[in-house]
Every structure is written in C-alpha cells, then in structure tokens.
Symmetry: C2
Subunit: 702 residues, 2 copies
C-alpha cells in the first residue's frame, strides 16, 4: 500500500502530468522483513520465494563509508560505484600512484592493495525488538530519563547479541521511532582493491552531468573482501548477467538509501526548507569555492582534494534539488494535504484524537532545538547529509580534529557503563571506531590547514569574533595562524601516536598536551551541553513520532515502508524513459553516445575521454548498452546497489538519480524521477575490451 503523504503527492503530480498508467506506482524502500509482496503479485504477477529474498539480502553489502554494493563471486568480489570506492582510492593513492586518475587493475590477488579503513557489513538477520525497547519506557519519565532508559535498553540488546553471535549488532530505529529492529551484520574490515577505471570515465561529464540524464558513466569499482588473510568465501553472491535488462523489464534494487524525510511533519519539513537546507548549502558553497581554488593551483593540490570536492559538489547539487522541491507550492500542498488527511482521521477517532498533540510536541521540540542548533552544528556535529561516516562539526573541518576529539572522548566515555556512553563509544562500535582511528589514510597538512582555517573563519563569522568561546578557540591568533599552529604541531598525524594515546587513556592524553586534543578539549563542554539538549529534544520527537506511527498503522494498516535510515531496503522499478520539456528521454544509452558527447565538447574536460578509451574505440561495439534509467525508488546511499532481474541476476548497478529524482527526499513521484544505473553489458564489454580484464570477467558471478 502506498503511503498516504506520497499518494497524495502522487495525485498532485499526476494531475499536472500528461498521463500515467493506472497501476500503482513502483514506490517504496521496503524492509526485507516486510517486502511489498502484494504489489509484486498484483502488478507484476511476481511471487519471490523467501529464498529469493534471503539470497538478495545476503548478497547485498553495506559500505560504511556511505554506500552500497554486492557480492558478485564466491571468492568475495564486491562491486560498488567508483564514487563509493573513491574514499578508499583517494586514501591509498599518492602523487606517484594516482589510482583515482589512472584507474587500477590487480591481475593477481597478490597485487590487490588493502584499504586503509574500509568496513563492509552484510545483514545476516533482522529481529523486531520494539516491544523490548518500549518496555524500558515507563510512563511518567522525563524526556531525559526516557532517553537514558531507551539508550540503556538498546545498548543491552546490542551487547547481548554481539556476545551471543559475535556479529556486529545494531538496534535501528524505524518509522521515526515507531519500531526498533535488531540488525546483525557480518563485518569485513580487510578489503582490497581489485579494479577501478579512471575517474574520468567513471564520473564522465563531471559536475555538469551529475544528476542528469542521458548519461555515459562507467561508475564502478570492484573490491575483494578478505577473511584471515584469504579471499572471503561467501555463500550468497549474485549471478552475472552479461546482457543487462531490456526496456520495460521489471528490476529490483537492494541497497542502503541514506535518509528520506517523507514521514516528517510539515513543521519539520518547513524547518528543513528554511533552516537546515540553507545551512547546508551555505556550507557546501563555501567549501566548494575554497577547494576549487586550492585545486586550481597545482596538479598535486587537485589530487589531494579530489574526493572531498567531489562529495561537496554532489551534496550541493543534491540539496539544491531538494530545496527546489521544498519550495515548490505543488509539493508543499501535497505534503500538507497528506498530513491533514491523517490528522482528520485521527480527529474522527476517539482512540487517536489525543495523538494529535504529538504534532505540537514535535513543533515545540523543534523550537527548543533551534535555540542550541548553531552551537550544536558548529561545535558538535550537524545532521542532514546522509552517510554513516563521521561529520566534523562545522567549525572544525579537519580529520586531525576528528582524531583529537575521539581520543579525548574515549578517555571520558570508556569508563562509563556501556549504555550511558555516546553511541559511537559503545562496545558494539569499538572495532569500527578503532578501524577509523588507526587508519593509515594520509593526512595532508596543507589541506588540513585550509579546511581548518576556513571553518574557524566560518565559526568567527557565525558567532562574532568577540564571542568568548570563539576567542578561546582562536587563543589570541587569527584563524589562519591558529590552524597553522595546531596542524603543524599536533602529533596525531602518526597513527602510532593515536593508538598510544587512545590506549593510554586520560593519563596519557593529559600528559601529551597535544594541541589538537587540547583544541577539542576547549570546546568539549559546550559541545556536549548542546548535544545533550539536542538529543533530549530528539527523544521527545521520537516518542511523538512513535505515537503518530502507531496511529498511522492503525488507520492505514502496517504495510507501509519507513523513511530511509541507511539500512537495507528493497526497491523495484521498470526500465523506462520519461518526458522532459516535450522531449522523450530514452531509457538506455550506448557507447556510441559516449563518443558523440565527447566530440560535441571537443573532448575538453569534464567531457574528455581517458586515452585508453580513445585507443580502444574501434575494438568496442558501439551498440553496447551503457547506462539506463528505471522508476525504482532510490536516494543517496543507494549508490552501488545491485540491480537484479526476476532471476536474481546482476543486470546493473545504481549510481545516480536524475535531477527530477531529487524530490524523492520528501515525496515519491515516478513522472520524471528516475534511478540511473550502469548496465551489466557495459561493464562486461569495457572490462574485456578496454581494460583487458578477461580473468576478472570470468570470475564474475562464479
């Protein structure tokens, strides 16, 4: 069943559309323990077996750096997007070995370089623990007490599961607090690079073509998971289909959409529109500008910030699109009408009438949060960008600061009972935290200095240079001088020093007087205070959303899907084009189109081809299908998700949505919104003909 807010919006979008089939839309990011079997059957006469679902679930891989992937061989080959692997490619590259620019292919396993801090997770089981978590919330508790009780209950469940199964165990919050599920993951932290094309072809068309269609990107990257120093033997992996899907074919997407806001109240969406999105865009804009300027100064500068700049541009374009959707009165009306419909139903039902107050509680909590939001954002962290990775507080944009704060807080948090710690310091997250903290990722002092200088400047602009805390942070220096001082003098650039301080605890940290840790210390109390308020208000909201969710389940039935939360979801859609400005955009592109686009732009960046692609042009079949679109319901975080056919075969890999899909953050539409994938046929042809990687192709799906 389609969720009411979305259904309403869909109606509005249909109303302005030229015409649509009467079948229900291919909407939804479904839980694997609650798949849309009814829709599959009614619309597509497709009835997957439990084994079909289990196989797809366990073939799916979560990249903790923020993305999705899938196993595609019995020996642990994992395929994802180039832009998901980019974080690792950047970290293992140097001025001499530039894997990002030049691409890479390991012809033997011995040649596969190990990622510095990449963690992969495979979801092994799901258990509904809603009752157990809610049982901890006795009536009459304050928001603070509730938060503590919930945190304790969750920590206990996670710890118990971890000890019992040895698997990474996370209790995930679904339906904004309407349900809690225990997810158990098999964890891989020895991951090695097998193949990456040149970024030039993976991200062909660069920022101008990002979120656009037609596209011509080979956005893939292949890793191999290892266990005990040997390629991981995996039971579940996807069969390789070298033909790709046909136009009109039904396909499935299994991946980790990061964050949607479809169930947020309209008050919260207004806050996103008027405060959070502008806040993020303002930040992305300034960072894009200074990184671009830095990159333009030399080739090596450009290399060093390539991945950061890429991520910023991507997010900027994404939030531009999301903000445009939120500023669209049609969408605004649809969202409001959807909410009103549910509220009307509540009003009419004595059992749920009281739940209406939940909307006011959310609004009130939002107003309370707004008071500390600037301090929270600049000194603790900010939300809104959907990945699982650490987000430096806006005022301290620095990897070294991240290390400094983690070491400082480890000393304070580790001695506390597990359930009372910040989640990132809980036992269940210890391995992941250490993988990140001891990473051998190179730290470039020049880059650290520009990011920290800019963010300290930003901090001073936000609170005023004379603000007492700003003055403490700057310690009598200009932002540039202060950044230079702490970056050059900190010893945290050395992973061994980080390890020693981390393990040495409070005593070692106090003795070390490392300037970056001391900087983290200066802001620690106010940052923690803001976080405390923020989390108490989030707790209030979560309870209120939980109440609304209960009413919604009762009124509309439980067969809906929760907002995306970077947990595994199943989407589905048909390969089909769309109409734009009166023109029909075809569903598929081919290699001929790639060469044509390059010619139109005189092969100038970002439309230039790697030399290899120029040399191998005649070897390639120009009719080979390249990228395709489908109407599957996806969002950021789905990047790298496998696209499979009814036979559960790999036929493509999601790498983008078109510009019209950016509305999907808050509302579903299939009028023009499309998911963009690389066709498996293109991957097969390119690996064989351009990269001479026949051995790799032969291993795929086997």
């Amino acid at each position: 069943m389609v969720h009411p807010i979305s259904r309403c919006a869909l109606f509005a979008l249909i109303a302005i559309s030229a015409g649509l089939s009467s079948a229900p839309a291919d909407e939804g990011m479904w839980l694997f323990n609650n798949p849309p079997l009814k829709q599959f059957k009614e619309k597509y006469q497709f009835e997957p077996t439990p084994q079909w679902l289990e196989h797809l679930q366990k073939s799916s891989v979560r990249f903790n750096s923020g993305g999705s992937g899938s196993f595609v061989s019995a020996n642990g080959l994992v395929i994802t997007n180039h832009h998901v692997g980019l974080d690792t490619l950047q970290k293992i590259s140097s001025e001499k070995n530039n894997y990002v620019h030049d691409g890479f292919y390991a012809r033997t396993q011995a040649e596969e370089p190990r990622a510095t801090d990449l963690e992969l997770n495979v979801l092994m089981s799901i258990e509904d623990v809603t009752a157990r978590v809610n049982a901890a919330l006795k009536p009459g508790l304050s928001a603070d007490q509730s938060a503590a009780a919930r945190r304790n209950a969750i920590a206990a469940i996670e710890k118990e599961s971890k000890e019992k199964t040895g698997l990474r165990s996370d209790v995930v919050t679904l339906y904004q607090g309407g349900a809690y599920h225990l997810y158990r993951f098999k964890r891989y932290d020895d991951v090695r690079l097998v193949f990456a094309p040149e970024q030039q072809i993976a991200f062909y068309g660069g920022d101008p073509d990002n979120f656009e269609y037609p596209r011509f990107d080979l956005d893939i990257c292949i890793f191999r998971a290892y266990e005990n120093g040997q390629p991981a033997k995996v039971e579940h992996f996807l069969k390789w289909n070298a033909e790709g899907p046909k136009e009109g074919e039904l396909t499935f997407v299994s991946g980790h959409p990061g964050k949607t806001d479809r169930q947020l109240t309209t008050d919260e969406l207004a806050h996103m529109r008027d405060v959070e999105a502008p806040f993020l865009l303002n930040m992305f804009n300034r960072r894009e500008v200074f990184f671009t300027a830095f990159a333009a100064r030399s080739f090596e500068n450009a290399r060093r910030v390539r991945e950061d700049l890429f991520g910023i541009q991507n997010n900027r374009k994404r939030y531009d699109g999301y903000l445009a959707a939120l500023l669209d009165p049609e969408i605004d009306r649809s969202l409001k009408a959807g909410e009103q419909k549910l509220r009307d139903a509540m009003t009419k039902d004595a059992k749920w009438k009281g739940t209406l107050a939940a909307y006011d509680r959310i609004k009130k909590a939002q107003e309370e949060t707004a008071k500390i939001l600037p301090v929270y954002n600049y000194y603790e962290t900010f939300r809104g960008v959907a990945t699982a990775t650490y987000r430096a507080p806006r005022g301290f944009y620095s990897t070294l600061f991240k290390y400094g704060r983690r070491i400082l807080r480890t000393g304070d948090e580790r001695p506390k009972p597990n359930g009372e710690r910040f989640p990132e310091f809980r036992d269940s997250n210890r391995e992941s935290l250490e993988l990140d903290l001891f990473s051998t990722e190179p730290v470039h002092e020049d880059v650290e200095q520009i990011t920290l200088t800019d963010s300290l400047t930003d901090l001073a602009s936000r609170f005023g240079y004379g603000d007492p805390l700003v003055q403490k942070v700057l310690a009598g220096k200009s932002p540039a001088a202060r950044a230079r001082e702490v970056v050059t003098m900190t010893k945290l650039k050395d992973p061994a020093v980080r390890k020693q301080l981390y393990e040495g605890g409070v005593a070692a940290v106090t003795t070390a007087r490392d300037p970056m840790i001391e900087l983290a210390r200066i802001v620690d109390a106010p940052a923690r205070a803001a976080r405390k308020v923020f989390e108490a208000q989030e707790e209030t909201k979560q309870q209120a959303y939980g109440d609304i969710a209960k009413a919604r389940f009762a009124i509309e039935g439980t067969s809906s899907y929760p907002d995306a939360t970077f947990t595994l979801r199943l989407s589905y859609g048909v390969v089909r084009g769309y109409e734009e400005d009166g023109k029909q955009i075809p569903a598929l592109t081919n290699f001929a189109g790639l060469y044509q686009r390059s010619a139109e732009h005189k092969n100038e960046p970002p439309f230039d081809l790697p030399q290899r692609w120029i040399d191998k042009k005649s070897a390639l079949n120009p009719e080979t299908k390249y990228d395709f679109v489908s109407d599957a319901d996806i969002i950021g975080g789905n990047s790298g998700s496998p696209v499979v056919n009814k036979a559960n075969e790999f036929v493509g890999i999601i790498f983008d949505g078109n510009i019209q899909s950016l509305v999907l953050d808050c509302i579903f539409s299939d009028k023009q919104a499309r998911a963009v994938s690389v066709d498996s046929a293109a991957i097969t042809e390119a690996l064989r003909k351009v990269y001479d990687a026949n051995a790799l192709v032969d291993e795929l799906g086997k």
Copy 2:
C-alpha cells in the same frame, strides 16, 4: 603626515617585520587638491609643479563601470585594464564574435566598435563646498530633516554647476562627512574599442594567480573616446615611455580607489567583520558556484557568464583577504589603539571632549540599521562592493529587474523636486541613467533565469518561504517557475520598449503591466521604507563622522587623506619586491617567466597560452620586463590607473594588489603589501611583436 590609525598599525607591522627603512611609508590616497608635497620633498626631494599635477589629473580617466584609465594620445586613446574593459567586451561580443576570448585589434578607426553603455569621466575641477553644504544644516534638525536639507543643498549645487558649466557635477562626500567637494567632470559616452588581447593572456593564471605575485598578465585594453562622431581631441594625455620603471624608482599612481574603511570606528569595523563581510562572502560563494556549474555545461554558457563569474571570483578573493585581515588580532589591536589615541586626545581637550559622544551615536545608528539591514540588502541594494555601478538587491539578481525598477521609479521620482529625488534620479545623473537604461547590451534569458531563480531562492531562505512578502514575490510559484515566468514574459529585453515606457511615465507603465515592472512594484514600498531608515541612520553617522573629522583635523592637522570613495586620488610608491616565507620576491617579472610558468603547468588552463603567444615566442625578447610591484597605496577601483614617473610619463598600469595588500582596506602597510602593474615595456613589445599593432604603438603618447 601619516594618519594615526595607520601609523599605529604600521608600527605593529614593523614590530613583527624583519626590518624597514626609517623613512615614512609611501602611504596615502591623496586628493589632487591636497597632494603630499611635504612627503615628496622630504623623502624623495621631488617637487611637482601645479602644472605637473594638473596634467596628471586631466590625463586620468574614470570608467563608470568601475575602474580607472588614462589618455595616452591626442586623439583620445584611453588605456585601461582588460578586466575593466571586460564589461564592454562582454556586452559587444556574441557567440560568433567573441572579443573576450579571441581579443581584438581595429586596424582602422572605422573598425572600432562602439561600447553599449560605457561612460568615461575626466575630472576638470575641484571646489570645496563644505561650508555651503553645512550651512543648510541648522541646529535642532532631526536626522530626517538634516538628510533632506543636505540632499537639497547638494542637489542645488550640482544643478547650478551643471547649468553653468555643462559639465557633469557631483558633490562628493569626503572624510566620512568631514568635507564636501564639488567635482566637475567632462563626460564621454561614445567610447569605442581599439585593442584587447585574449583574456587568456590578460588574466593569465586565472583565479589561482589573482591577487598573487609573481605575475604574468597583459591586463590591458585600449579604447578611444569620441566626440560628435570624431576621435576626441584631448589636451592632456600621458607621454609613452617604452622602457618602464627601474627597480627602486619612485612612481606615481593616479586613479580611483573605490572604498577603504580606514577611518571607520572600530565598532563599524567589527560590524564589517562579523556581519557585512560574511554576508558578502556568502553571496559571492553561492553565485560563484552556480555560475561555475552553468559555465561548465557548454562553451556558449561559459562565454555568456564569463565577466560576471570573473567579477564574483575577484570579489570573493578580495573579501576573503579583507576578512582575514579583520580577524587578525595584530591588526585588531592596532586599529583599536589608533582609535584610543584619538579618543584620549579628545578626552584631554575640553573643546573636543563632547565629540566623544559621536562614537556612541555611530554605534547606536549601526544598531538601528542592523534591524532593517536584511530587508534593505535583499530588497533595495547592498553596500560593500566598491564600484559606481548599480547593485541589484540581493534577492533580485537580474539585469531585467534593474530595468524594471528604474522605469517604475522614474515615474515616481521624476515629478518630485530635484533635491527630493533619490540621487540616481537627479537631473545631474540623467544622462548616465539613460545611457545605462537604453543600453544595447544583450540580455540572455537563460542567464537571467538562473540568477533570478537563485536569488529568489536565497530570498526565501533568508526570510522563510512562509514570509508574507516572499509569498507575494513568488506569487504562488516556485522560485524557478516565477523566474521563468517574469523573464520570458517581460518585454524589457528590448531597449526600444524600455525607452518608450521610460518616456511614457506612470501612465504608460501602468498600462503595460509588464511582469518585471510589476515584480519591482510588489517590493517597492518595503524597499523604499528600508532605504529611508538606512539613509536616516547613515545621515546620523555622517554627522557624527563629521564631528570626529573636525576634532581629528584640530588635533592632528589637516594634512591627511580621506578614505577612498571612487574619486580621483594620487598615490606614490617605489618599485620594490618583498619577503615572503623567508623568500625574496623580486620586483619584476619578464616574458621568459611567462613561458616557464606555462611549461610548469603543462600549458593547461588557466596557465595555457594563447596560440598567438606560442607562435610568436621566438620573435619576443624573453628579457622584456613584464609585470612589476611597487609599494604604492592602492585598492580596488585603482585598476587601470596609470603609473607615471617623475617626468609624468606612462611607465605602467596598475592591475592588481598582491594577497598581502588586501589588508589595505582597513589599514596601510608596506611590509608585504604591493601594487601590481603591467610594465609599459611589455605592452610595447607585445603590441609590436605578438599583435602586429605597430600603428597603435606609434600613436601612443602622441
């Protein structure tokens, strides 16, 4: 005499410097009717005659698009920077004739294309009218009444002068209101292009090299002023010196520095630091990002926004540097100490003790202004970027909106008595306004749509989508849809329509119901209301600054220079390098350095050479001096200023300051701050050898 705030800062800078000569610094942007004769004589034993000064003054040209230049031939040749001429180059270019990219040389006068709306001014006389203006300010008037009285007095002086002399007559405010001078200008509005190099060489190194040194830019552009359809016969023009200056030589700069803040109170500088500079940078960042993204999509897109993008990047870098200076505690201390010294002197003197209250009045006015500043900035205009050109309100970044508002307001303002109109509608400005309004500058609908969409989005983010005025502006549409509607439907793209509506007055405008004029109408009342408050507070400040100026003159003597106001100033300095990070940066570069820099960057943009420069390399003398630095006191607006030697010969042309010079906005320093010029030797050599423009060289200085 050096101004005390600056002297204090200079002291601080000296304190941290390796060592400086004990001679007073080459500080100051001096009025031509109050030149630093004492400094010339004492430090350089140079005593210019009144004729020497008059000749330089009348050879100097103000570009009303925001820059400086000079006459360099009896037949009206005017040399300026390429980046000053760029506005015109962009407006007269098309996809087919791309003067910006390809450069241009008119081998005959018949081939010289006319600028669409370029106005040049030559300062013919200066008259001190302080007493007459102040006489209008009777004691006991409210700020509002004072403002009106002053406006009336100024309008009357201007009108009387214009009628008497036929010259453009502007009363300019100096010393923040300490003095009023009547400037009479000869006006040229038929200006034609003679020569421009490729932007690639004029702006060699692009944004990365902007505000940097060493440099390799041929940043020049040559126009010819016409009168009655014939080349203007000018009495005063600079002799051409083909050798350029020598290292250590004293040089003079005559030009139009746009705006400095050296006499602002520290409260006002704190506001600049914490509010205005961040406001502007936030705006530049978002505009740089969307223009860059738009430009990357096609060659024609890039061509259309080239000049806008250039200006934005330039301002962004400039304000980045200025903000960094304001956030430097050394500078902060110097500025405060300078102010304190003057305040201490006032405190000790019964005559001036009362003047101390002026500081509080300024602070209070600033606080009042702050309340309406957002509305003023987004709906009326904003200050801070120093040019004489129109600044669209931040929420309506559109040339068509500018036209719409001007036409709308002409109807309302023209019937008022001259002295009660907004200054831009006064009789003294009528010709300039019409030159701009009837310009044949091409208006690109796609560019207008992206700028207006972004600024309407910005507006909604600033005030909230639900704000009643925002809702009226958007008229039930999204920012994109609203921008598309007004841009496609307005008839103001046609200069003939603009002329007809302008001349038709209120009746014609009402009947036309042009959507862009109607958009301007929606916001006119709140914009005017904010402007009224803003100007009343500015008036209060001006009176207070006037009081402080009187005290300063009494305490320190009158031989100081006022803050820059885009009026003609005389600066001076010695050609000399500086030390940076322990390295000595030489004063001069040469052509060999240009070719070397290109090779280091594999001739990739923005370090690529025009084909002509590659082809003519062997013809050029590699030892030819190219760019040079001096310690003259300059700022934005000085671009294109002639650099002359003691013999009043043209030896170079200012085009930039180095990054260390960005501090000059608020304080003088000659430790590292340098003005950057193109050497006349480079111009001569390039024109002859690369551009085969011997006839043009032969005309220079004759």
